[in-house]
Symmetry: C2
C-alpha cells in the first residue's frame, strides 16, 4: 500500500482524486437526457454547472471516497455518492448567496450564480441540484444494493434537511438578531456545516459496508473534523484576506454574527481547533497506516489557507 | 366493491381520502426529531406547514392512492408516497410565488409563505420540503421493498428535476419573452405541470406492483389528465374570478404568457380538453368498474371551478 505520510504525497493524491471528482461532475452535469425527460434547458444546465464546476475544494466527496477506501469500497461507487453530496453542497451555496440570504456577489473568486445569471435562475438551479443529488444517489451505479442506496437517501435527506443543514441555516439567521451562547453556536454550526461532513464520513462507511463499531467511529470522526473545519473557517474570516479566500471576509463581525472566535478570541479558538484535530487522529488510531490519508485530511482541514 | 358512479359518492370518497392525506401531512410536519437531528427550528416548521397545510386539492396524492388501489396497494403505503409528492408539489409553489419568480402575494386565499414569513424563510422552507419528500420516500413505511423505494426516488427526482418540472418552469420563464409555438407550449406544460401528475399515476402502479403493460397505461393516463388539468387551469385563468381561484387570475395574459388558450381561443381549447378526457376514459376501459373512481377523477380535473 502506498504510504502517504509525506504531505507532498498527500497533495498529489488529493489533486488526483479531485480531478476524478471534477471529471465525474462534468459528465453528470450535461444536457444528456434520462428517460421521460424533456431536453434540459441550456440556461439551467449552464447555471447548475456554474454553481458546481468552480474549483471547489471537494472536501465532502473526498471524505466519502477516503472513508470508503478504508473499508475497501470501490472508487466507482464512492465517486457517485461523493458527486451527489457535492451537488447538494453546491445547491446550498447557491441559495445561501441569494440577495434574500447572505447577498454575496463573489464565490471562489467568481460571480455568484444569481450575479452571473439572475435570481430566478439561481433559485431554480439550486432546486435542480438538490433534486439531482437524489437522482444520482438512487442509481444502481451508486451501489448494487437497493437497501444501501435507500439508506444513503435517508441519511442524506436528514443531514441536509429541517433537522440538519437547513435547520442550522435557519438558526444561524436567527442568531444574527440574538446573542447565542457558546453551546448554541456549537449546535447550529454542527448542523449548518457539520451535518454534511458527518454524512460524508458515514456514507463512505455505509458504501464500504463497515461494521457498526467502525461506522460509529467514522460518524464521530466526521463530527470532530466538521467542528475543526468550522473553527478554521471562523478563524480565516478574521485573519485572511478576500484575495486568499475568493469571497468576502470579515463578514461575521460585520453582520454582528456570534461565532466562537467572537466569544473565545483567536487563541482559545485555535486551541479548541487543535484539540479536535488530536481527537480526530486518536479516532483513526485503530486503522493504522491504512488511515494515513484521512490523518492528512484532518490536518489539511485545519491548516488550509482558504 | 363500492360502486361510485354517482358524483356525490365520489365527492364523499374524495373528501375522506383528502382528510387522511391532510392528517398524515399534519403528522409528518411536526417538530418531532429523527436520528441525528437538532431540534427542528419552530419558525421553519411553521413556514413549511403554512406552505403545505393550506386546503390544497391534494390531487397528486389522491391519484397515487387511487391508481394504487386499482392494483390493490395498501392505503398505508400509497399515503406515504402521496404525502412525499405533496410536500414536493408544495415546495414548488412556495418557490414559484417568490418575488424573483411569479411574485404572488396570495395562494389559496392565504398570504404566500414569503408574505406570511419572509423571503429567506420561504426559500429555506421550500428547500426543506423538497428534501423532506425524499426522506419520506426512503422510509420503509413507504414500501417494504428497498428496490421499490429506490425506484420511487429515481422517478420522483426525474419528474421534479432539470428535465422535468424545474426544466419546464425554466422554459415557461423563457416563453415570457418569446413567442412559443403550440408544440413548445405543450412540451413545457407537459413538464412543468404534467411531470408530477404522470409521476403520481406511475408511482401508484409501482407501489401496487402493476405489470408493465398496466403501468405504461397508467403513465399514459397521467399524461392525458395532466394535459387536461393544464388546459382547465389556463381556461380558469381567463374565465374565473380571483375569489373563486383563491389566487391572482388573468395573469397569463397580463404577463404576455403564451398559453394554448391565447393561441387557440377558449372554444378550441375546451374541445381539446374534452378530447383528452375521452382518451383518459378509454385508457381506463380494461379495468371495468374498479376504475370508477379514476373515471370520476378525470372528470373532476376538467370540471373543477378552482
Amino acid at each position: 500500500m502506498l504510504s502517504l505520510s509525506m504531505p507532498q504525497d498527500f497533495q498529489n493524491h488529493l489533486s488526483n482524486i479531485v480531478s476524478s471528482i471534477d471529471a465525474e461532475l462534468d459528465r453528470l452535469l450535461t444536457a444528456q437526457l434520462s428517460a421521460g425527460e424533456i431536453e434540459r434547458p441550456e440556461n439551467l444546465v449552464a447555471a447548475m454547472r456554474h454553481g458546481v464546476l468552480n474549483g471547489g475544494k471537494r472536501l465532502r466527496p473526498f471524505l466519502v471516497i477516503e472513508v470508503g477506501a478504508l473499508f475497501d469500497a470501490s472508487l466507482q461507487e464512492t465517486l457517485q455518492t461523493g458527486c451527489a453530496l457535492e451537488c447538494l453542497h453546491s445547491y446550498s451555496l447557491v441559495h445561501d448567496d441569494l440577495p434574500a440570504m447572505d447577498d454575496d456577489d463573489l464565490r471562489r473568486g467568481q460571480p455568484t450564480v444569481h450575479k452571473a445569471f439572475d435570481e430566478a435562475t439561481a433559485i431554480l438551479a439550486g432546486d435542480a441540484l438538490l433534486t439531482f443529488a437524489f437522482d444520482i444517489l438512487s442509481s444502481s451505479k451508486c451501489h448494487p444494493s437497493a437497501e444501501v442506496r435507500c439508506e444513503l437517501v435517508s441519511l442524506m435527506s436528514r443531514a441536509a434537511g429541517q433537522g440538519g443543514m437547513i435547520g442550522g441555516q435557519v438558526q444561524d439567521i436567527e442568531a444574527e438578531t440574538s446573542t447565542p451562547s457558546a453551546d448554541q453556536i456549537l449546535s447550529l454550526q454542527s448542523m449548518k456545516t457539520g451535518a454534511l461532513i458527518r454524512f460524508a464520513c458515514e456514507a463512505g462507511a455505509v458504501v464500504g459496508n463497515a461494521p457498526s463499531k467502525d461506522r460509529n467511529r467514522m460518524v464521530e470522526f466526521g463530527k470532530t473534523i466538521g467542528l475543526a473545519f468550522q473553527l478554521a473557517d471562523d478563524l480565516l474570516d478574521v485573519t485572511s484576506s478576500s484575495a486568499e479566500m475568493g469571497k468576502r471576509v470579515g463578514k461575521d463581525a460585520e453582520q454582528g454574527k456570534g461565532t466562537l472566535v467572537s466569544l473565545y478570541g483567536v487563541e482559545k479558538t485555535r486551541v479548541l481547533m487543535n484539540d479536535n484535530l488530536s481527537h480526530a487522529e486518536a479516532l483513526l488510531q485503530p486503522f493504522g497506516s491504512k488511515a494515513d490519508i484521512l490523518r492528512e485530511t484532518a490536518r489539511f482541514v485545519v491548516e488550509r489557507s482558504n
